[in-house]
């Protein structure tokens, strides 16, 4: 068990390290650098030299990678390209806002999607199942920005219940993001529910067809007890990894949703940085997202190892 966890941890660290190398080398190998990106047409002669000197691009690539990654480890993300602002300060509040948005979506989405999945799985091929499953397919196929735009059109413009966009500054206290916050997290919740619900439904159907469920039924165990005590814990195990993948997807999906709602989070900072061709900021945000992704998946892996002894022995045999 411990050996497995250590192995997963090591793999996660290797992945993070590789991501940092890819991000660094990717930018390094491509034509141009942070300076040509900012200066664009003026990137020649004296201006370019001066900019490179300020940004420290004259030192060799390896030394810069070491400095950059050492900075990452200590939480120093460097300075942005144009404003010469500290990236850590720039990112701080926005990271909090993005996490707030994701937490809102997850807090509502996970219980709701498990509930819907169980209901759909128990009512297989009857109307609740058909209704939820069709809804899930629709939610999964429609792009986030389309769903967001439709919600704004209906709830903000036609019905006028909530404001369409967020105008609160990034460093405001969390409570000030209400009620604008609701629509943005609804979009994320909707898309997230679709993925998790489908998984829970599929595994619920599988578990309910199992021998031990039949055994319990024959023994005369009440139906609700079979569902909640015997079937559900088993049905939720495979859902853990899907939830982790969904969280990871949320990190990408959040970019577009934040732009649509003008929400001051990490995603919008990223899009602004790309428009300004601010490479250091883009690199830093990409690293944060990658680390979160690896971390979330690691937690899910360890959690499912801890909760599922079968997986443990199976893994031990295989490796």
């Amino acid at each position: 068990m411990l050996a497995l966890i250590i192995r997963r941890l090591a793999l996660g660290l290797v992945t993070v390290w590789l991501v940092s190398v890819i991000i660094f080398l990717g930018v390094e190998a491509l034509p141009g650098d942070a300076c040509t990106a900012i200066l664009e047409r003026d990137a020649h002669g004296e201006a370019l030299e001066k900019c490179r000197e300020i940004m420290g691009l004259t030192t060799p690539a390896f030394a810069r990678y070491m400095e950059w990654s050492a900075g990452l480890l200590t939480g120093d993300l460097g300075v942005s390209a144009n404003g010469q602002e500290r990236i850590a300060e720039l990112v701080g509040y926005r990271l909090r806002n993005s996490l707030l948005l994701a937490a809102g979506a997850l807090g509502v989405g996970i219980p709701l999607s498990i509930l819907l999945g169980v209901v759909a799985g128990l009512c297989r091929d009857r109307w609740p199942d058909l209704l939820f499953s069709t809804g899930a397919i629709l939610a999964m196929t429609i792009p986030e920005f389309v769903a967001a735009t439709i919600l704004i059109l209906i709830f903000a413009i036609w019905l006028g219940w909530v404001p369409a966009i967020v105008l609160t500054p990034a460093d405001a206290p969390p409570l000030e993001f209400f009620p604008e916050f609701i629509l943005a997290s609804t979009v994320l919740t909707m898309l997230m529910i679709a993925h998790i619900m489908r998984m829970v439904r599929a595994s619920m159907i599988e578990v309910m067809a199992g021998d031990y469920v039949q055994m319990a039924t024959l023994k005369g165990v009440p139906h609700w007890r079979i569902v909640f005590r015997h079937a559900l814990p088993n049905a939720l195990l495979p859902a853990i990894n899907v939830i982790a993948l969904t969280v990871a997807w949320l990190l990408g999906g959040v970019v577009v949703v934040e732009v649509v709602f003008n929400y001051p989070g990490l995603g919008r900072l990223l899009v602004d940085a790309i428009s300004d061709r601010d490479l250091p900021v883009v690199q830093a945000i990409t690293m944060i997202v990658a680390i979160t992704y690896v971390g979330v998946n690691l937690v899910a892996d360890i959690l499912s190892l801890a909760l599922n002894p079968r997986l443990r022995s199976h893994q031990a045999r295989r490796t």
């Binding site: 397919i137 792009p143 920005f145 998984m199 599929a202 990190l251 649509v260 790309i274 990409t286």
Partner: protein, 292 residues
């Protein structure tokens, strides 16, 4: 996994297509995709107006006999732009998907057969690339290269090929353990021969279903990029861009948003339904597979 003999390609694909149409999801999906392709091909000849033609006197007009879906904020005909709006997306993703499928599929099958340290190193790299979810890696490249179709096509082909490696490798792993591969090895066939004659025919079905799904995700990614302003450059019509432009005037001219939304959604739903029908027809149900 197909156990069908490697019959000539033509009849089998016709057979699969027929079986797909027999399912309701396949019939609806293929019809939607077919209509979209038809519209993309024919639209330059049948659109009522020039997509660039502006008319300042009728900006944000509602539907009328002259402009069925009204006009946008520059007085351009929404119907015209909606009909043309999928061409760039279909061209870029339609080229990038097969490329992604081929390079990812070949590399994955090769790794699945070869194994060893190459496999281990490649899989760690794949993991690292997949740790950048969604459109993030695309955004990083766009920061450096700038946007536009000629940048997006290779970029999409590259990034969407990476998850294919994993799928193809897993599919190849299942086949490698079978007797006929050992037999081919024992006969002393060259590894490349084994890949071509034994492995590829057996993983094609998996790759086809994967490709159909990748296509819809790529389309999602492409239109999201357009929406963010990093995809198709104006004044070229594109659904993502149209939604992003028209959304500001949504309360005045909702049709400007609704039209491209419906066009984009029907195409993506069509592809998804077709992929679903294809998977079921080929006996590969994706319902248990995780989503990435």
């Amino acid at each position: 996994m197909s156990t069908a003999p490697p019959a000539p390609r033509g009849p089998r694909s016709v057979e699969v297509l027929r079986a797909m149409i027999a399912r309701p999801s396949g019939a609806i999906g293929l019809t939607l995709v077919g209509l979209h392709l038809l519209m993309a091909v024919l639209s330059p000849w049948i659109v009522p107006y020039d997509y660039k033609a502006m008319d300042a006197t009728i900006t944000l007009a509602g539907p009328s006999p002259a402009h069925w879906l009204g006009t946008d904020h520059l007085g351009r005909d929404v119907l015209t732009r909606m009909m043309l709006g999928g061409r760039e997306a279909l061209l870029v993703t339609g080229t990038a998907t097969p490329v992604a499928l081929i390079w990812g599929g070949l590399l994955g099958v090769y790794l699945g057969l070869k194994g060893g340290w190459r496999d281990e190193v490649a899989m760690r790299l794949v993991d690292a690339f997949l740790a950048l979810p969604g459109i993030l890696p695309l955004l990083v490249l766009i920061t450096v290269f700038g946007s536009g179709g000629e940048v997006l096509m290779p970029t999409l082909a590259f990034f969407f090929g990476i998850p294919v490696i994993r799928v193809a490798r897993a599919a190849a792993h299942e086949v490698v353990a079978r007797d006929f591969v050992s037999a081919a090895r024992a006969r002393g066939h060259h590894p490349l021969d084994i890949v071509r004659r034994e492995l590829l025919p057996n993983v094609t079905d998996t790759l086809l279903v994967e490709g159909a799904m990748r296509w819809s995700w790529m389309l999602l990614g492409f239109s999201a990029l357009s929406f963010l302003g990093f995809g198709v450059s104006p004044p070229k019509p594109d659904w993502g861009l149209m939604i992003s432009d028209a959304r500001v005037y949504m309360s005045l001219a909702p049709l400007g948003v609704i039209a491209p939304v419906i066009a984009l959604s029907t195409l993506i739903i069509g592809i998804n339904l077709s992929a679903d029908a294809l998977a079921k027809t080929l006996g590969l149900d994706r319902s248990r597979k995780a989503v990435i």
